[in-house]
């Protein structure tokens, strides 16, 4: 099956999501709550596009819209841009001091309205990517809490979670950098919990929490793991390879 996106003919499989097809063909659609590793949230609606079919146009959410028929897609029509502007305006009202959303405001030439009361400390746009990431590692330390205007992301009872290992996956996937990790004096502090940081045996840099290190090695069934940071692990692997090759050469 073939579909046309912004005039470009693209191959597509039935049921494939529009966003994925566009991406594969180098067509840029803005997203906030989508990561290839954590697809399907469909919360932010930044990825809206227009689908033309049988002479009618519809606005769809491209990250969760499966193509079923050969259609024509427009990703940047005045209508779409106007809607994205509204979205950006609302996001900016929610997280007025956030850099990422501020950049979007500049890009879309949006001025946040004055009539909403704003919380300058709020940085979360409730996209839920962090919750998904935590789910995916099977820790489930955080979830959405409350509903409506008091909705937020937190641990149960806002207390240190039993299952949190301080891995930082939630902060890593966050599109607005809302989750803060404080590393100081060999300690990591996040989600109201503090963790001991481990130093790399080789370079001596702090690189992860003890809980994370142990969890990962347990998952990988690694019996006597070396405490190495990613960089040193890579160099070590290279050295090992070199050793193998040099024995071959002999």
């Amino acid at each position: 099956m073939q579909i046309v996106i912004d005039g470009k003919t693209c191959d597509a499989k039935r049921g494939e999501f529009l966003l994925d097809i566009a991406k594969r063909n180098g067509i840029d659609i803005p997203t906030l709550c989508h990561l290839d590793a954590l697809p399907g949230e469909g919360n932010c609606r930044m990825c809206i596009v227009e689908v033309l079919e049988r002479g009618r146009s519809r606005v769809v959410t491209s990250c969760i819209y499966p193509v079923k028929r050969p259609v024509e897609v427009l990703t940047n029509t005045p209508k779409i841009i106007k809607m994205r502007k509204t979205l950006v305006m609302l996001l900016a009202s929610r997280v007025p001091e956030n850099d990422m959303i501020y950049q979007l405001c500049e890009q879309y030439d949006v001025k946040p309205p004055m009539r909403f009361t704003k919380d300058p400390t709020e940085e979360c746009i409730l996209c839920r990517l962090c919750v998904r990431a935590c789910e995916e590692i099977k820790l489930n330390a955080i979830s959405t809490v409350n509903r409506g205007i008091t909705k937020k992301i937190s641990t149960p009872f806002d207390e240190p979670s039993d299952t949190c290992i301080g891995c930082g996956a939630c902060a890593y996937v966050c599109p607005t950098n809302a989750i803060k990790i404080h590393d100081k004096n060999g300690k990591r502090y996040m989600w109201n919990k503090s963790f001991e940081l481990l130093k790399c045996e080789k370079c001596g840099e702090y690189f992860t929490t003890r809980e994370n290190f142990e969890y990962v090695n347990k998952q990988l069934e690694c019996k006597e793991p070396k405490i190495l940071c990613d960089k040193c692990k890579k160099t070590q692997a290279q050295e090992n390879l070199r050793d193998i090759f040099s024995t071959y050469e002999m």
């Binding site: 330390a141 979830s143 509903r147 149960p156 009872f157 979670s161």
Partner: protein, 173 residues
């Protein structure tokens, strides 16, 4: 008599919180281990204890082997569930469109005057809780107030005062 009553209510809720987990156990055995019964179970627990005790939540968590974060998310999402003890009498004031237009805010203010609580609060003696709800489907009788399962229509401030007095009034007075 009021004092006596206050003490007994307080004692009851304290005891419930600390000791009586047998009811939670009982509920769990009544339902199959399928997650679609989660909400029903939480509702049963809420009905019995007038809130969701932490102990009960961890028992439910263990029974279904699900993350606590998921339960907590549910418990904070549904208005019918609460993590703080609810009063003996839960006053629900409808603040749906019809009731709002017919002055539900005056009723809310009146409750504040009578019992010194705002929506979401429970009186200190644990007797009354106040909630607002969105349309009870009896708009013709607006404004509507429901106390536990009893229904009151066309409520006025003076009528409200009578009703609250019928339930024992403000214990602090």
């Amino acid at each position: 008599m009021d004092d006596e009553r206050k003490v007994s209510v307080k004692k009851m809720s304290d005891e419930k919180i600390t000791t009586d987990i047998s009811f939670t156990k009982e509920i769990l055995t009544k339902y199959p281990k399928e997650q679609r019964y989660l909400l029903a179970i939480l509702q049963d627990i809420q009905r019995h204890y007038k809130f969701l005790p932490r102990k009960s939540l961890s028992m439910v968590q263990e029974y279904f082997d699900i993350p606590l974060s998921r339960l907590y998310s549910m418990a904070t999402f549904y208005k019918a569930l609460s993590l703080k003890p609810k009063g003996e009498y839960v006053i629900k004031i409808c603040d749906g469109t019809a009731c709002h237009l017919r002055g539900s805010n005056i009723i809310i203010d009146e409750i504040k005057k009578l019992l010194d609580i705002v929506p979401g609060d429970t009186t200190r003696d644990g007797r009354f809780s106040l909630e607002t709800v969105n349309c009870l489907g009896s708009c013709a009788a607006a404004p509507v107030v429901v106390i536990n399962d009893r229904f009151f229509g066309k409520v006025t401030p003076s009528k409200l005062k009578e009703i609250i007095e019928e339930y024992g009034g403000n214990g602090d007075e």
